[in-house]
């Protein structure tokens, strides 16, 4: 009386299986590949479109999306696709710079706070608390003004306001590692502090750090867009996504939906790609979840 109840069946057949979608690691790798493809696509598109679309062509004002202008045109006749792609490219650059600066800051402060004793820990925690209690946008605006405004102000503001969360994560990771039984055992087995840092701590922290860096990207990009949207920093001629969105606000009631929705959707897509990239690399890098 053998009853067969197959509890786990794979939903992928035919084409899906051909691509390896029935296999989780392949799925993760596909997701990572597609995300990287999207970023490469943005660069390729920017190079392919050139900057001709940024010039006003009053003859083709306010055109709905068509084959010639897939994202439509704005009230000055500028090609919205070109402007969006340029904006995304700018966002990528700002995001990269800001998340690099923020994550390096977080790494230094987090490790210092966990290893250099109570005084340093207290100071870092105090800083983190202060930065986290101020509303994020207010902080961005304050720093951006303090840094002299302009595009430099935006980059500095975004770069110096995203470290607290990652600092906390790295601090607690290091504290947890230092207290971990295998690290304490390594010390009793005669390994020096330096060897333990190199062989036990670093390989554990590095993936966390990289994933933290990737996951900072969407934040930085969205905040850059938010600052530009509010009109702080970047000049109105710069094709930044935030500026595109803020311009589109003026035309929302007149039915030019493509001015806001398409750049907004493109921004969302890019941000989501970074999110997917970060989580998937996280899954792949951990030997436990990598097996699933």
């Amino acid at each position: 009386m053998t009853q067969c109840a197959t509890l786990v069946t794979t939903p992928f057949r035919g084409f899906g299986r051909l691509l390896g979608l029935d296999c989780r690691r392949t799925r993760l790798l596909w997701a990572v590949g597609i995300c990287l493809g999207v970023f490469a696509g943005i660069f390729a598109l920017a190079a392919g479109l050139g900057t001709a679309g940024l010039d006003p062509h009053l003859a083709v004002r306010n055109q709905a999306p068509s084959l010639a202008h897939p994202f439509g045109t704005d009230p000055l006749g500028r090609d919205m696709l070109t402007r969006t792609v340029r904006g995304l490219l700018l966002s990528l650059k700002v995001g990269l710079l800001a998340s690099l600066v923020s994550s390096v800051l977080a790494l230094v402060l987090g490790v210092a706070s966990a290893t250099f004793g109570r005084a340093v820990d207290a100071v870092v925690n105090w800083l983190v608390d202060i930065f986290m209690t101020i509303p994020h946008l207010v902080l961005l605006i304050l720093i951006s003004f303090a840094a002299g405004g302009g595009s430099r102000g935006v980059i500095v503001a975004v770069a110096f306001s995203h470290w607290p969360a990652l600092t906390r994560i790295i601090r607690s990771e290091v504290l947890q590692l230092r207290g971990a039984l295998y690290v304490r055992t390594a010390r009793r087995l005669g390994r020096s502090h330096w060897e333990i840092a190199r062989t036990h701590l670093l390989p554990h922290l590095l993936p966390q750090f990289l994933i933290g860096l990737i996951l900072l990207f969407p934040h930085a990009i969205l905040h850059e867009a938010a600052l530009s949207f509010l009109g702080i920093g970047l000049s109105p001629h710069t094709p930044a996504v935030g500026i595109l969105l803020s311009e589109s606000m003026r035309h929302l009631s007149t039915g030019y939906w493509w001015l806001g929705i398409l750049p907004g959707a493109a921004l969302m897509l890019m941000v989501k790609c970074f999110d997917i990239l970060g989580t998937n690399i996280d899954r792949l890098s951990d030997p436990r979840t990598a097996q699933e």
Partner: protein, 231 residues
């Protein structure tokens, strides 16, 4: 000779004492048991002996001198949960050889298969991981072994096998051991004497030595009360 003199520990500088006035002496090649219910600080005591923690009171002496702070510690601990004492991101071969290259004979006697060494910790069972943790702790520099509930998570066959290998190693190399356990039968099997601690008041304050204790050893405390609680 591994000695704990008037050892006490508490968390922070004002927390309640986990235990105080602990004395113990273990000679080379001697196997001593420490028996008692959980929650009395037996694990912390093991950590003090192994140099994992610094005592809040008293001293741990090895051959009359303090334990070395750096370098290979001659007192090695094996813990209850092997999965916590190995790096989850290392293959086990690397973990096994962290301090020294264990000889084939030791690996054979512990039943460690070569195939395990290329795997990650989550791919092995608790018993297999514990064998590796034991092999790692039995380096040539190890003079004393502190086994804290080393086989409490393991089945009887694995327990007997690991202990037989460890006892053989200790006998051949004159390594002393402190066996912390709540299993009286196991302690009776392994140890030449057993120190029991009672836990009426929730601390390792009272204890008696069950078998032939030298004077002054065990825990300072009310002997009569301890005897009463052990009876």
């Amino acid at each position: 000779m591994l000695e704990a003199i008037d050892l006490g520990y508490r968390f922070g500088s004002s927390g309640p004492w986990l235990f105080q006035g602990m004395n113990i002496r273990i000679g080379p090649g001697e196997v001593v048991g420490l028996f008692g219910p959980s929650g009395l600080g037996k694990t912390t005591f093991g950590h003090l002996l192994g140099g994992y923690l610094a005592p809040a009171q008293g001293r741990v002496l090895l051959g009359g001198a303090a334990l070395p702070v750096r370098g290979y510690c001659p007192v090695q601990c094996v813990h209850q949960h092997p999965e916590l004492s190995v790096n989850p991101r290392w293959r086990l071969g690397r973990t096994l050889r962290e301090a020294y290259d264990p000889p084939e004979a030791l690996l054979d006697s512990l039943g460690i298969a070569a195939a395990w060494l290329s795997r990650y910790p989550h791919e092995l069972s608790g018993g297999e991981l514990q064998r590796i943790a034991v092999a790692r702790a039995l380096g040539p520099g190890t003079r004393y072994l502190v086994a804290d509930e080393m086989t409490a998570m393991l089945d009887a066959i694995t327990q007997a096998h690991i202990w037989r290998a460890v006892m053989d190693h200790c006998r051949e190399n004159g390594v002393g051991a402190l066996v912390i356990s709540h299993d009286e039968a196991l302690l009776a099997r392994l140890c030449s004497r057993v120190i029991a601690c009672g836990g009426v008041t929730g601390g390792m304050s009272a204890a008696v030595d069950l078998a032939g204790m030298e004077s002054g050893e065990g825990f300072a405390g009310d002997r009569a009360q301890a005897a009463g609680s052990a009876a």
